[in-house]
């Protein structure tokens, strides 16, 4: 609907403090979705270094072909490891909330949609915390 003037913080995302579970779920789902799309491009860029490495049998055996060098160089950076943890968090939440949305679309358990959102948040947190040792192993 149109506006006669700017009512400032009353409107829209200035009201984030008053958002309920469903609204937060929507915001997070959008955000994680865009992050995953962004990741897809970097993913393709890194993997495509394997194209130029293709056929260099000797270099691959000696582990100094383009692809292997790029990957090992990236994985040796602490920032990249931390970003990977973030990526996992984003992906896990998107998957879990996606399942929640599937149930919502099927009309199952609409009364407990807020609980399933909190559950997916908690589960995401647990999985991310549990994965930290694996992701950060050997970088320090």
């Amino acid at each position: 609907m149109s506006e006669s003037y700017d009512r400032g913080l009353v409107e829209d995302f200035g009201r984030w403090r008053e958002f309920s579970a469903g609204m937060w779920a929507w915001v997070f789902h959008k955000f994680t979705g865009w992050v995953l799309v962004g990741y897809l491009f970097t993913h393709i860029a890194v993997l495509s270094t394997a194209i130029s490495a293709a056929g260099q049998t000797q270099a691959i055996a000696a582990e100094n072909d383009v692809y292997t060098t790029v990957i090992t160089a990236l994985e040796s950076l602490l920032v990249v490891r931390i970003l990977e943890v973030g990526l996992l968090a984003v992906a896990v939440f998107h998957i879990l909330n996606g399942c929640r949305l599937l149930l919502v679309d099927l009309g199952v358990g609409l009364d407990s949609q807020d609980k399933s959102f909190y559950a997916s948040l908690v589960l995401t947190g647990a999985i991310v915390v549990a994965s930290v040792p694996t992701f950060l192993a050997g970088v320090f």
Partner: protein
Amino acid sequence: MSTHVPEPDTETEEETTVEQEEPLAPAREERLREKGEARADREERERVDAEKRASDDDTVRLKVFRFDPEVEGKQEPRFDDFHVPFEQGMTVLDALIHARDTFDSSLTFRHSCRQAICGSDAFFINGRQRLGCKTQLSDLEEPVRVEPLPHAEVEKDLVVDMEHFYEQMESIEPYFDADELPDGELEEQRQTRENREKVKMSTRCIWCAACMSSCNIAAGNNDYLGPAAINKAYRFAMDEREGESRKQHRLNVLEQENGVWRCQTQFSCTEVCPKDIPLTEHIQELKREAVKNNLKFW
């Protein structure tokens, strides 16, 4: 015990006499200053306490949005404070009526039945769309902030332009229109109990526009039908008495780009609906109906 009472008196007398005899030492001056400060502190505390007591016991502080495009000096939106005497069972609407009748007759808001049937007094109260007449002051935190519905044009104070909302409601043809009428002029159009149960919640809509105002999608897209209109369409599309061709027509309207598919299941409408209509559930069911309607396997 009676000997205890005069004691402080004699003490202060002594003190004052001492004060008169000696010139004021810096330490004494310091003490006097402290005493004065303590007294001021105590007075301040008492005043605050009294105020607090007043607000706790018998008055409620309302912060009401004010705006009047026709009066110069009121064109800038502002909040007015009203201290309304609290009574047991008082609603936000009661408080507003009291504020208008007692303090400021220019305070403008819509209200009619005062029992959540007419749907005229949906406001944005403490950050949420609620019916003024259905919201107990005792359930709210003070100060109670009353604003006009967000995402609607404000006409004056708490009155918003409902025209767009009514247009959306009317666009889905919100009236019973059966394909075939029963034979005989006085024949009733009977509905099965099960069918009545199915549409029961959707019939409760009072056109208050709380859901429309809470909907983030409707806010950004004027073409979206909005939760209230879709719920109204659900009420008739699911009514078995209307017949198949009428239902097809209704589904055709709903499955358009700006029909049910704009809903992104934020559940805001369901949260705020003062009549507890499961709006999201109805929209989702219509989405499934629309898919079933178009899905063909051959």
